[in-house]
Amino acid sequence: MPAATVGQMTSAPPTDRDAGARRPDGGPPAVEVVDLVKRYPKASSNAVDGISFAVRRGEVFGLLGPNGAGKTTTVGVLTTRVRATSGRAVVAGADVAADPSAARARLAVVPQRTNLDQSLTARQNLLFHAAYHGVGKAERTRRADELLDRFGLAERADAKVDKVSGGQAQRLMIARALMHDPQVLFLDEPSTGLDPQARLFVWDRVRELRDRGTTVVLTTHDMDEAEELADRVGIVDHGKVLALDTPAALVARHSGGGSIEVVLTPGEGDDGDLAGRVRRALDAVRGVTGTDEMPADAPSVRVRASVDGDPASSLAPVAEAVDSTGAVVTDVRLGRPDLEDVFISLTGRELR
């Protein structure tokens, strides 16, 4: 085989998450949703169609789903911004419909799009937020200093917020959310649009929060994020919860096997449709259950073969089949099944 690199798309060992899920259940759940339905006027179907789940105290819970699946509406109900058509939602012991003020005192929201107060500086954003929540002056000053420091914003503390970068704005919104010491923190797509450094930083802060006992509910369509952060994941589509468990358990239950992905460049005298020929060759290999062409930089092509069982045991016959097409292999990746496979198998492939 020509110079090939073999990497493995394995995820982190699942033991941490299992431990998290098995953490002793301390009292009533932090978030409880029972038969929640939301129907918008004039809509042909329910945006949320009978969702039920419970989030344990101190847990990081991921709501995973394609755009329009109903996760944002569900979080809208939980954060008192959307009125449910029927069903019940309780956050930190407060029923969001019956006592929204009490629920708001105990929860915090970090939205996807910045909604910082543009007339104020970073520090003033934190201070006024705490004042809205009745935090005393000395205490809010102390918390603001601490959070600005913890979120790497001390140097930008007195800058107007329209002058801070996207990553800084995101961090500032998380810091602001923590100013009133919420019991449950809702994060909407926390790392969308962030650079890798900012993303890792946000992930670290979320883990830190969990360690301090804050419950975190995050919505995302980023599989890495869900797999990396969430103790348990609920996969939502068409307003329903399709599956709910630890990422490891979901993968074990819903995914048939692994995958082998090969990147190829056409050999000399190649007469076109390389991807098609490779796919036909791979389809004939024993153990291969399906093939897909993945995006790649021309003239390279990337083909992914789904396989039964451990992908490593199918590597040799797959390499042989690819070789028979005359293409030059430039990269090979073995994919252990991950959350993305579960997600795709549950929610389908079509674009939303």
Binding site: Y40, R81, S101, Q118, L120, A131, Y132, G134
Partner: protein, 276 residues
């Protein structure tokens, strides 16, 4: 009364007081934020709200008078109307415009809607804040009036009515602004403002006494549905009682009615925008 009773009464009252303060804390903090931002931008705020009334007063009261186009004493009739216009339109614009921006573009209001207080209280804070701005602007019109016109109509015994009518006018304007800012879709706000503000400006009996419109009956009817008419007429009746006017008490009463109606529609609109 025994000591025990006293203690119970005291602690009971204190507890209720604390609870009331506790519930008001978020709204007061939101008001403090608005005042903090306004205070920092005081000169630009005053320029923004005073330019229009000052020009109206200058051109209609001073320039046209000096050129001899106006009857003697017209400036004295105009002044109360301009104060009324300042109170009503300043608070209308200072509620409607920020709301449109808040709900559709900046989303800044989201953080305040998540404060532990009823959503209605956040809407009422918008009204109170706009009213405060309008009252400050109206008060500033008095020294500016003296400066531009040389003298302004004034009756110290009418001070109570002046304050009441300015506050009522500003509150009614803010309620109208709350209604306008939440009912109109953001994409149409420019056209709605153009179509609503100019008619409000000229059908509010600011530039003419309402009773004198007898000669233009249809216009008199039109002006009667503009809340500004009652602010203008009430202030004119208080400051220049010799001019025929709608009774001042009736003006106050009608304004209370408009205020109740527009507050109800405004809060409904606000809740509709704030909650899905």
């Amino acid at each position: 009364m025994s000591t025990t009773d006293d203690a119970t009464t005291t602690s009971g009252t204190g507890g209720a007081g604390d609870r009331a303060t506790g519930r008001l804390t978020p709204v007061l903090a939101i008001l403090r934020r608005d005042l903090f931002v306004t205070w920092r931008e005081l000169p630009s705020f005053l320029a923004q709200v005073l330019l229009q009334p000052v020009f109206l007063l200058f051109v209609f009261g001073q320039v046209l008078g000096s050129l001899g186009f106006l009857a003697d004493g017209y400036a004295q009739l105009l002044f109360p109307g301009i104060v009324a216009l300042t109170a009503f339109l300043t608070s209308l614009q200072n509620t409607a415009l920020p709301l449109v921006i808040d709900f559709s573009f900046s989303k800044e209001i989201e953080d305040r809607l998540l404060a532990p207080t009823p959503t209605t209280a956040v809407a009422l804070e918008k009204m109170v804040f706009a009213t405060l701005r309008a009252v400050v602007a109206s008060a500033a019109m008095f020294p500016l009036g003296v400066w531009i016109l040389g003298e302004i109509p004034w009756r110290t015994e009418g001070l109570g009515w002046v304050v009441l009518l300015v506050v009522l006018g500003a509150l009614t304007g803010s309620a109208a602004g709350l209604t306008l800012g939440t009912l109109v879709p953001p994409s149409k706000i420019n056209i709605v403002f153009a179509l609503v503000l100019t008619p409000l400006l000229f059908t509010g009996a600011s530039q003419y006494p309402w009773a004198s419109l007898d000669v233009l009956r249809w216009f008199q009817v039109v002006t009667a549905v503009n809340p500004l008419t009652y602010v203008s007429e009430g202030l004119r009746g208080t400051l220049v009682p010799g001019t025929p006017h709608i009774p001042v008490w009736l003006c106050a009463l009608v304004l209370v009615g408009f205020l109740a109606l527009l507050t109800a529609t405004g809060i409904r609109g606000f809740l509709r925008r704030a909650l899905d």
